[in-house]
Amino acid sequence: MLRLEKRPSPSVFWERASPFLAVALTMVAGGIMFWILGKNPFEAIRTIFWDPLFNDQFAAYSRPQLLVKAAPLILIAIGLSLGFRAGIWNIGAEGQYIMGAIFGAAAGLAVYPVESRLIFPVMILAGAFGGFLWAMIPALLKTVFRTNEILVSLLLVYVAQNILAMMALGALRNPEGGGFPGSRNLSQIPSMANPELIAGTGMHWGVVAAFMAVIAGYILLQRHILGFQIKLAGQAPRAARFAGVSPARLVVLCLGISGVLAGLAGVFEVTGPAGQISIDFNVGYGFTAIIVAFLGRLNPVGILFAGLLMALTYIGGELAQLMLGLPSAAIQAFQGMLLFFLLATDLLTNFRVRLAKREGA
């Protein structure tokens, strides 16, 4: 029989290795699922993980698309990781992402059809502010009334979705859209667009911001006193308090930063790849980013690679549907497996697996 034994201190090796093991196990279990579905498992796994990067036909297009898909995930996950390290659980990044997009789009559309180079920067600021504002609700409720930020931030996602629908149908609706819900296409309005900076690279301002967030996150955690306080508060809350760390200040800062980053992701998305405010503008980046944050070990560099990996499963998953006729539900199950195995293998960080001796032997 197997027995779990708690490690005296978390294993550094397994902390690093468990994501790789999780990916490997996902490939095996996913392969079995694809095989049961009557597809060649090796071909399916190759299509998902290899073809988006190296296939002659697609790679030139899908490689840059990885950046486009990964950018919002990375941006949001960096923000979330700070809070998660400090034991502050912002589950509502999806809502902050939506509010960022709404605020940003509204700021731009308010002055339509004025053309000015200033409009785009103002929209970005408005988007960051929208995300910040939405994150401040759970932050203040937690610090003032001691409510649970997990519940408040999560429930505010549904409020944000309803505001999104209201905006797509009402205030922000394209007056020339023939009655169909949805705003004007911002990516087609020069002073509001967030286009590719270099054609064919997928690099837009959101990708740039994601890379900057990775670097800033790294510096913050490694070199800055706030980063130290965040880590301390997560690992030893009492010690942190003795060291003069104000829990309330940390809650506001962590939620504020993650709100700003989620809001930025929203406004970069709505001005670029998505193009417009529509009822189903949000496709779950805020929730997927939680997976990305943990897959990346709450480490900025890890998150960068985790975000790219997640994007790979999306784009590779689409290719697998198209080329092999896999149902989309199978791809979703495959992505779910990744989180499942990650949580399972995380056990190895804190526990050792031992062969148990029989009772009385």
Binding site: Q57, A165, G178, P181, E318
Partner: protein, 361 residues
């Protein structure tokens, strides 16, 4: 490391951008993008049946590929581009919300034909649009609804306030009113094409209001499932697909979207070189709109009248929008004996006289 990865990606992206898209092949590849799952039992299911019919008609000479559950937004453009790169010769995009993505991708792949269902933008010579005159089927349904209702309250589950949907509501109401002047129409906006839970809620809301005949412009069978719970008190119609599994229950007839003739025609034209850009809008006459079997729940004389109307529409002797018809505000729209021009229908943004309520703005 980070910067080098980025630069390498950028360089490769630039160098290979959209190279090698078209590959010589002897098979014609027809691709389909679906907004829902192929098992939705309605809209997407019927498009997929059309795709399968193409395969059957041409056998080895064509190859079919499809992707389901593609969101209308940023992801659609990527999916379409990947399809184009995978060697599709003709791509059918089967939802209104793919309009901008279809035109954007068509611009990059002038050699590939794009066919967009229910849209109106043909910005490039390789973009065609196609639709079906569903309002013809709505007229037949309206007639049955007006005759069958006992409470004189009939209901309509609408998706989005676009001309396509408003046209159907008006046609349904006009023909119910014609045979039953006391009839009242309740409309519930679901703001979705496919969401069984929301559609069921909408149906419940209508039933609670005393409605006993429900028509729907959403894609799932959920409204019929709700009607079935009333033990025969409430009847409804199959939408998009025959929904024959409810034939013994509440489904008294249906509108069947039959895309097969159009798909076979277009793919065939592409193969024999006679393909030309088109704006297709066929109805009962062209076989694209079919009236599903009217069940025994409907009295024989009503059934005969409904079938006579269907045949008159098919023969071109009757147009469902024939004056005199006033707009909701009482202002005249069509004078005595005048039939509605297609342009009026395609831009329809008003209810006809007698409908209570406002189109969501």
């Amino acid at each position: 490391m980070k910067r080098r990865t980025l630069l390498a990606t950028a360089a490769l992206g630039l160098g290979l951008a959209f190279g090698g898209a078209a590959m010589a092949q002897d098979k014609t590849k027809a691709c389909f993008v679906y907004v829902g799952p192929i098992g939705d039992g309605g809209w997407t299911y019927q498009h997929h049946q059309g795709a399968l019919a193409v395969q059957e008609a041409f056998g080895d000479k064509v190859e079919i590929a499809f992707q389901e559950n593609v969101p209308e937004g940023a992801d659609a453009e990527r999916v379409l581009t990947q399809m184009a790169l995978s060697g599709c010769n003709i791509i059918f995009t089967t939802s209104f919300g793919y309009m901008d993505a279809t035109n954007a991708v068509a611009a990059k792949f002038p050699d590939i034909k794009f066919e967009h269902a229910t849209g109106y933008k043909r910005e490039h010579p390789n973009v065609s649009t196609y639709n079906a005159r569903f309002y013809e089927g709505r007229a037949v349904q309206g007639h049955i609804a007006g005759k069958m209702t006992k409470s004189n309250k009939i209901g309509y589950i609408a998706s989005f306030p676009i001309p396509e949907v408003i046209m159907g509501i008006n046609s349904y109401y006009l023909h119910a009113k014609k045979v039953n002047p006391a009839v009242e129409l309740s409309i519930v906006w679901a703001f979705t094409w496919f969401d069984p839970a929301k559609e069921a809620d909408a149906a419940k809301a209508l039933i609670d209001q005393g409605v006993d005949v429900i028509a729907s412009h959403t894609d799932s069978t959920a409204p019929l499932a709700e009607a079935a719970k009333t033990n025969g008190a409430v009847i409804g119609f199959g939408q998009a697909s025959d929904m024959a599994e409810y034939k013994d229950g509440p489904r008294v007839s249906s509108i069947i979207d039959n895309w097969a003739p159009y798909y076979i025609k277009r793919v065939g034209a592409l193969m024999d070189g006679t393909y030309a850009q088109a704006d297709a809008w066929e109805g009962i006459a062209g076989g694209e709109v079919e009236i599903g079997e009217i069940t025994a729940l409907v009295p024989a004389e009503v059934k005969a009248e409904a079938e006579a109307m269907r045949d008159a529409i098919a023969a071109g002797t009757y147009h469902p929008f024939t004056g005199p018809i006033n707009k909701q505000d009482g202002s005249p729209w069509l004078a005595e004996g005048v039939t509605a021009p297609d342009g009026d229908l395609l831009g329809m943004n008003f209810y006809v006289e007698g409908i209570v309520g406002e189109i969501p703005q």
